[in-house]
């Protein structure tokens, strides 16, 4: 099935993105630097892995890309131009929460979400049915989302992300809560998408999946990007011997990388 729709998004670049949040407690108001001068580029056909501890700034970065939050400074460029609503409509976004209505039928809400991204009713029906079949959840299409298992809910979420024919995938922890079979389906879907020369940005705590899928990795800590590079480059930075025939898993060197200066 053709993923493309309209013009192609070939490159997304984040330039010097910073974001602060004010948090107030009983006695005081605190400013949290959620993102500090974050910059990276995702090219066409590239699977970009985004890694960091909880609260490091991964979700905030993705929300800023999607326009859900506005940065305090910096810019986001798509194909060299400042990002706009049309660009965002062509991005498939999967937030870390389910992002679907629990008490609405699967088919109805996916069709609705597809239509609000600009597809006609006819195209939305066709796309929804295609992806429900591809991810093997057609039998659940008329069920309420909350009645599905976690894995099937995540699949429904992925259908909702892919059905609008996005040009880019922005996936926040897409493998969370999935069984091994569902993980394999998700991995294959991401690979197929990237093989169509579309950029993918995804975050995960499962470093073996980052290792397996990502062409490039950025590690973020306390709102700052501390390392950028391919998995091979990250191993070099961690001074891991390159003579080994089986590369050292990223999970083994993550502790060193997160404290990299």
């Amino acid at each position: 099935m053709d993923f493309s729709f309209g013009y192609d998004i070939m490159e997304i670049e984040l330039k010097n993105i910073s974001k602060q949040f004010k948090t107030s407690s009983k006695d005081s108001e605190k400013i949290v630097q959620a993102l500090d001068d974050v910059s990276f580029k995702i090219k066409e056909g590239e699977v970009f892995g985004f890694v960091g501890a909880n609260g490091a700034g991964k979700s905030t970065t993705m929300r800023i890309i999607m326009g859900v939050l506005n940065p305090d400074s910096g810019s986001i460029l798509v194909n060299g131009e400042k990002i706009n609503r049309n660009d965002r409509q062509k991005m498939g976004y999967m937030p870390s929460e389910r992002g679907l209505y629990p008490k609405m039928k699967v088919y109805e809400q996916i069709k609705f979400l597809t239509e609000i991204h600009g597809l006609s009713s006819k195209d939305a029906k066709k796309q929804t049915n295609f992806w429900l079949k591809k991810l093997d959840i057609t039998q659940h299409k008329d069920k309420l989302l909350q009645t599905l298992s976690t894995g099937n809910q995540q699949k429904a979420q992925l259908v909702a992300t892919l059905a609008p024919k996005p040009e880019v995938l922005i996936l926040d922890e897409p493998f969370r809560g999935l069984d091994p079979i569902a993980v394999k389906v998700m991995v294959n879907t991401i690979k197929d998408f990237a093989n169509e020369n579309k950029p993918v940005l995804f975050s995960s705590h499962q470093l073996e999946l980052i290792d397996k899928l990502a062409d490039k990795v950025s590690i973020i800590k306390d709102g700052k990007i501390i390392i950028n590079g391919t998995p091979k480059q990250l191993r070099e930075k961690a001074n891991v011997s390159q003579t080994k025939t089986i590369p050292t898993p990223l999970s083994d060197i993550f502790g060193d990388l997160i404290n990299f200066n």
């Binding site: 999607m66 326009g67 409509q89 991005m91 389910r98 629990p102 609705f112 609000i116 991204h117």
Partner: protein, 320 residues
């Protein structure tokens, strides 16, 4: 615009197929038909005397005289008109004259119906508001609002939600009006609602219901967006509930004092107050159609201001 309509369609379908909506609509309709038919059931035991004509529509001097225990000559003298003048000119002045004669107390059907409408409209707006509030919190807690706001602006999303819920609320109001007509038809003209001017009253009720749904739903959405859970939302929307209760109770307990220019002015022309007081007082014959239209115009002018405030708060809070 397309996204606004898509959101409106989703909200409308979700609301009208909800159990609370179906149940409340059926209950409203049954209440009206039942109360309207009470007179038929108890008439042998001396029920309401609805032989007194509904003087909002009746322009016959004899009828007015009978109702007021006056002679026809006295009625004519009161208005300085001959019988011919009275009958030809009365159609443009009847409502003022009738209101001025304070004959509403003599028609229990109008009074009963007007209070019923007040309560039913209040309940319908509250149900809509609660539905809006829980929908906003659900979208926020499930992060679905992030997906929605990546595809449309917060203005489009809020507008669509309000339009959808207002349309669903209108269905309830139309059912109430159908129940009213049915009550009259079924009772063979013996219903205590017989004589209520369905056409103009229906118009007044529908227009003020629309204003009510839009005004209060916007505020419910805005205040609910500051909450992160259904429990927090109940507290968050308290200011809106109070804003609705004040005019409701003022209408209920002060309607007898609406002849006072200050009280009448607030009840009949102040936004939020007029939503409840005008349909009630129009049914009773206390306000005229022209007065109702002026009040409606004021409320419509207030809507953009209310929506502007609500959309600012919603935009700021829904993603926090």
């Amino acid at each position: 615009m397309r996204n606004i309509l898509l959101v409106a369609k989703r909200e409308f379908k979700t609301r009208i197929f909800s159990k609370s909506f179906i149940f409340s609509t059926i209950v409203f309709a049954i209440l009206i038909v039942a109360i309207g038919g009470i007179n038929v059931i108890i008439s042998n035991g001396g029920g309401f005397d609805n032989s007194i004509p509904n003087l909002m529509m009746d322009t016959n001097t004899k009828a007015i005289a009978d109702a007021n225990n006056q002679a026809e000559d006295e009625v004519l003298q009161q208005h300085g008109l001959t019988k011919e003048q009275f009958n030809t000119e009365i159609s443009s002045k009847s409502e003022e004259i009738i209101a001025g004669l304070n004959l509403k107390e003599n028609n229990p059907g109008n009074i009963t119906f007007s209070f019923m409408i007040l309560i039913l409209m209040f309940m319908s707006i509250v149900l809509s508001g609660n539905q809006m509030s829980s929908g906003v919190v659900e979208e926020k807690s499930n992060s679905i609002v992030e997906i929605l706001l990546s595809a449309m602006s917060s203005f489009q999303l809020l507008s669509g939600k309000i339009i959808g819920l207002a349309c669903a609320g209108l269905i309830q109001i139309i059912v109430i009006l159908i129940a009213l007509v049915s009550s009259i038809e079924i009772s063979g003209g013996e219903s205590i609602f017989n004589g209520i001017p369905i056409d103009t009253f229906g118009f007044v009720l529908i227009m003020f219901a629309i204003v009510g749904y839009i005004s209060f739903s916007s505020l419910y959405a805005a205040f609910a967006s500051t909450a992160n859970s259904p429990t927090e939302a109940q507290t968050a929307v308290t200011p809106v509930a109070i804003l609705m209760l004040i005019p409701f109770y003022a209408t209920l307990f002060l309607q007898g004092a609406s002849n006072n220019p200050i009280i009448g002015g607030i009840l009949h022309y102040c936004p939020f107050f007029s939503i409840f007081s005008i349909p009630l007082d129009y049914a009773k014959g206390v306000v005229t159609l022209n007065q109702s239209l002026i009040s409606l115009a004021i409320s419509i002018i207030a809507i953009p201001i209310i929506f502007w405030f609500a959309s600012k708060l919603y935009k700021r809070s829904v993603l926090s």
